[in-house]
């Protein structure tokens, strides 16, 4: 009986849970333990000796940071890719649009209304949103009108609850909720690619290695795709 601890970014929760279930069904002797928290928390924990076998981050920064802490990252890969989209509540009157230089988000906001985002100071999705808005020349106008949430899901909850007419979240999140609709995705060039790097911690045993390889395989890719993730271009 062997156990694999996977420390994953919170945004991967649903997809990973699904994958774990599938893998465990196929490998009854293997116990996959997924641990979800924000990428930063997870990174810190691993740096402090958390019994992680695999780290699955939502951005490259924390993976890089972990590497600098002296943690051995084996076979680091960029596994997934995500998109940033603008969402609105399901019944919203707002029509779909591509958020670009011509479609300014503030045009869709009424008095005192805000755009829900993950906190651009620390939540990766928020950081991407800031970069996108900046490159689209909307940051200045929108910054004071952001509703900054503690994580992407909280931002989406604000839209679901109608607190904010618009929200900026990952495509995967928008897809998972049936109480929001996607208005449009930010153009690819407006922000750095949203990549999910994955790595093994230290020298992996065979069980870990098997699961790690399986995650990169075709079956897993299909599940990730079902949850809205795209495959990242392999970068060595």
């Amino acid at each position: 009986d062997s156990t694999v601890h996977v420390y994953a970014a919170a945004s991967l929760t649903d997809a990973m849970n699904d994958l774990v279930k599938t893998y465990e069904a196929a490998h009854p002797s293997v116990d996959i333990v997924p641990v979800y928290a924000s990428s930063s928390t997870v990174a810190r924990q691993i740096a402090n000796g958390a019994p992680a076998d695999i780290y699955f981050s939502a951005n490259e920064q924390w993976m890089d940071w972990l590497g600098k802490q002296g943690v051995t990252l084996t076979e680091r890969r960029d596994l997934l890719k995500n998109h940033l989209v603008v969402i609105a509540q399901k019944g919203s009157q707002i029509q779909s649009f591509i958020p670009d230089k011509d479609h300014r988000l503030d045009n869709y906001l009424g008095r005192n209304e805000r755009v829900a985002v993950g906190d651009p100071d620390h939540v990766p999705a928020g950081i991407y949103a800031k970069q996108a808005l900046t490159s689209l020349d909307q940051w200045q106008a929108l910054e004071p009108r952001l509703a900054r949430a503690s994580d992407v899901r909280a931002a989406m909850a604000l839209v679901e609850r109608g607190e904010a007419p618009l929200g900026i979240v990952y495509a995967t999140d928008a897809k998972a909720s049936d109480r929001v609709k996607t208005l449009g995705a930010f153009p690819d060039g407006s922000h750095p690619p949203i990549t999910y790097p994955i790595a093994e911690i230290g020298s992996p045993d065979s069980t870990t290695e098997a699961f790690y390889q399986w995650l990169q395989g075709q079956d897993a890719a299909q599940v990730f795709a079902d949850y809205g993730f795209g495959p990242a271009k392999l970068k060595q």
Binding site: S40, Q61, D121
Partner: protein, 230 residues
Amino acid sequence: MLTPLEWEALQLSLKVAGVAVGASLVPGIALAWVLARHTFPGKSLLDGLIHLPLVLPPVVVGYLLLLAFGRQGVIGQWLARFDIGLPFTWQGAALAGGVMAFPLMVRAIRLSLEAVDVRLEAAARTLGATRARVFVTITLPLALPGVLTGMMLSFARALSEFGATMTFASNIPGETRTLPLALYSVIQSPGREAAAARLCLISIAVAMLSLLVSEWLARRSRRRMEGRDV
């Protein structure tokens, strides 16, 4: 000494926590008194309700606040008529802090009220004092250590409130970005440990100060009564 951002967060924190404590003091004392001195059907329920924020993860409390005070919440819609919107405002942050801190305040005050010698209250009533006068002149002053402790605890708790504030009031610089929110932001960014430590120290300093003030006040009120204590 402090950066403008730190100043902003500090001032905001003090305002938010101060308002939270100030606004919850009177209802806190009233509820503590009711719970300490009366039995009535539904008392346990009320007691439980007051303790809820202590029991639930703050984020959940924030979410529940959103359900109640949000744009589509029952209370929120009612407040909207008066053009009052709490989410995303510092008042909302104060509400979140106050709600999270409330059980601590009520408990401390209640504990002290229960320790007040009811025979002194009875003596005051025989001297013609109404229930209200007895409360103001006898009960409350004798329960002062508990009231101060309650205020201090709830001030500290409101000062450190993060999850519910973030969820309900968001993290808007200058509006709702209190010290813990600022600190959290910093901690989540790699390599900003020094800034985090500074914010940490500021929080600690403020809390220590409020602690010292409350202890000093409590000691002063006790010293007035000193004499043969054993």
